[in-house]
Symmetry: C3
Subunit: 340 residues, 3 copies
């Protein structure tokens, strides 16, 4: 389950060269880690991407700062100038503190049912269960306590950190990263009312996950009722998201934590959806739609565009007056209208 470690030192010149940055300052300073502007030490690379943190620049002790050209002049330490400082920082951080390589092998406590296909390059950790007919790609890491059902496919280079549940037939693409507690392929929530009793509608569709998808801790993705629930390439899902049956999430869309997407809604490509958003079922969200946190989405949305909902919090006595006033006013006007 060990995730990242750091060892080696590199000169700033080497870093600048590898990641296409323009270096201002001493080229032979050695760095071997990353740090924030506030707490970074002289052996660390830091970055400035969010203007909120600009005020920390003047006092930073980091070895160098990855920064855009228009901010670089104010930086008291060496700079690695990049047009996209945040992306350059992300690549440098992954280089200095790399993900540990898989340690091939199957732990003695893992229960791997006959008829599954697990290449020798895979790392299968303690207490993993892999069901019949499942196929893993090269270099797949299945962390401790994961359950892999029958006939599951997991593409090469994917990592399930631990305690992940992947139920029967689910297909996961390459280079997935799935965090603990995530559940893929649980039954969708479908019942038919019959004389006051709910009859279960069998959920026999599947969950199909593309390549380069990240799925957060305790996120749940239900299998489709008949057709499949689909998460396309490059989608990033935060923690505790609920994706209902037959939802489709388009390529490179990101969704923040605690958001729920109800059944059969289609979300386009490159959307950015905030946390605690609720999207009701059977809607179409266009490509490149942004939705701010805690919004309730009750209608299909045209993109590109940004949407927001709800009444942000206020001091409670003021809030109470507003709600009361709002209701009275709406009542009065609506009466008036009726009288007209």
């Amino acid at each position: 389950m060990t995730m990242r470690s750091q060892h080696q030192s590199y000169t700033l010149a080497d870093i600048a060269d590898r990641f296409g940055c323009l270096l201002n300052g001493s080229s032979d300073i050695l760095v071997n880690t990353v740090g924030t502007l506030e707490n970074g030490t002289p052996n660390a690379i830091s970055f400035l991407a969010n203007p909120l943190y600009r005020k920390q620049l003047s006092s930073t002790r980091a070895g160098a700062v990855v920064i855009s050209s228009d901010e670089a002049a104010r930086c008291p330490v060496p700079t690695l100038v990049s047009e996209n400082a945040y992306a350059a920082y992300a690549r440098i951080a992954d280089f200095l503190c790399p993900q540990n390589a898989p340690q091939p092998g199957v732990h003695t406590t893992a229960v791997v049912v006959e008829g599954s296909e697990i290449p020798k390059s895979c790392q299968i950790e303690a207490n993993v269960v892999v069901g019949e007919g499942s196929h893993l790609g090269d270099g797949v890491v299945i962390g401790p306590g994961c359950l892999i059902g029958t006939n599951v496919r997991i593409g090469k280079g994917s990592r399930l950190v631990g305690h992940v549940t992947v139920l029967d037939n689910v297909v996961i693409g390459k280079r997935a990263l799935i965090h603990p507690g995530a559940v893929l392929g649980s039954d969708g929530f479908g019942f038919a009312l019959d004389n006051g009793r709910w009859i279960k509608v069998p959920q026999i569709g599947n969950v199909i996950i593309g390549d380069d998808v990240e799925i957060g801790a305790n996120t749940t993705i239900d299998r489709g009722t008949i057709d499949d629930t689909i998460i396309e390439n490059g989608v990033k899902l935060d923690n505790q998201i609920q994706i209902a049956h037959n939802v489709q999430v388009g390529e490179h869309t990101v969704i923040a934590g605690l958001t729920g997407v109800a059944g059969s809604t289609k979300i386009g490509k490159c959307c950015v959806i905030g946390g605690s958003v609720g999207i009701i079922g059977h809607l179409n969200i266009d490509d490149e739609v942004k939705i701010n946190a805690c919004s309730l989405i009750t209608k299909s949305l045209k993109g590109p565009g940004t949407y927001s909902g709800g009444l942000p919090a206020e001091e409670v006595s003021r809030w109470r007056k507003q709600v009361v006033f709002f209701r009275k006013l709406a009542k009065r006007k609506s009466k008036k209208k009726t009288e007209d």
Copy 2:
């Protein structure tokens, strides 16, 4: 952990006969699976229940469509006419793609503590832990990685899919279906403030689950503080629902994902509660109340009736203007009132 499979073929005449539908069309067409109107193949039974999908009827290639009498005329393929098409479809789908029967036995890696009672008809899968004094009914399936505490009761025919946690003393009725990551019997959230410190109020009540209850992935149901948290017969809970201590959910109520019910609230029978709803504590929700998605419930609700709350999302600049306008207006009116 294998869930459903399909094998056998049946004639439409046979299906119509078994499920009380009126067949229009060729009686000897063979079907062995189900499909959507859009993607169903000639060996599949499809259905029309949601008018949103009516437009797909004319081009369907399914073998037959379960449908209401007033929609049947437009259907280009054989129809199985039923007064309640969705319920009839649900029963036919369960017949064609049945839940796999339990495969009795206790996996060698399961840890079953002495003093628990597990009939031979039960299926106990890999890495299951069953504590002292727990009793399972006939044909219970405990999927891989489930934890069953001490003195737990689980009624016959219940299935815990995998990775389910059932803590001490919890009682589960017959034919329950519980999805991965669900936690039953965790401590309620109760603390007494004493000189600025929170003292834990011991949570020694229980969780009692009736018959025919379904509980979604990563849903949590806390034990009562002193008395019990109660989920009555036929309740269906979706994923990631939080049921706090001493809540009661009445028979045949359904609740969608990410909804939270705070402590000691009583929800009546046959309610339909949408996703991401928040219900505060110590309320009474009458029988047959419907609550739309993302509503905040701060008062007891009379039923039958439908309730909704919140401001649905809009384009962000329009939303911002509305919020500002709303606050100003409320302030002005409230000032005026004070001046009067």
Copy 3:
């Protein structure tokens, strides 16, 4: 996994003496458990703390009631009078129904990697995995199915109930209580956009949990991006809370279920935050702020004070009219303003 049990009987005089209450009534009544006012039996201690339950006082059959001095006169059974009845009750309940002591030992199915430090006083249950270099304090209980990564520290007296995931390097203080499904140290949600693709920003910070912290079922706490996510002493987190990377939660703050706190937000000490609240990132919430359930927090909040947001639910046709009216009015006024 057995949690609490009760055995011994005590006289009311003994209880009053041990917990500093004033006893009114027969001193030699024996009690051995707790009960509600409604259902408590003569061998049980009950309490009155929430005025909602005052009406149950007159008919209680409990052996004694822990109560404030101004309520005591109405009580038909013996009273244990305390200035802080709820806190006194909490202590008495913990005394009568104590948490079971750890049963030292390592279960044969536990996988404890060489190089971890586990004192003999610890209880390590079935199917636990403990990674290299992890250190547990005296008397730590690790319930069944927990995953402890590498280099984790867990302070003495802490309990992980079962199915808890603690990833690499995470530090947990003394006397923590962590419920099933909680995930500590999952990656924060950080991606840099680069030509329409999301590049992962490595999450190499840590999670630091103070002493006397309780963490609810299926709650997730992400590791910091570079610096750490910090949960200070005495914090109580309910179920299904999402704490994003680099959040700080101050001492003795309590947060109810399904609440999400986005990245880098700092919450002060002694705050009380309701359920299903959404707090966006990079905010400061002052000490002693209260936030009511289902509020959306988009700005930093000054304390002490109470905040609320959203439009509580109403009967749906009334709600619909209000929303329509509100939008029209805002549009008209905003037009008027433009015309002026």
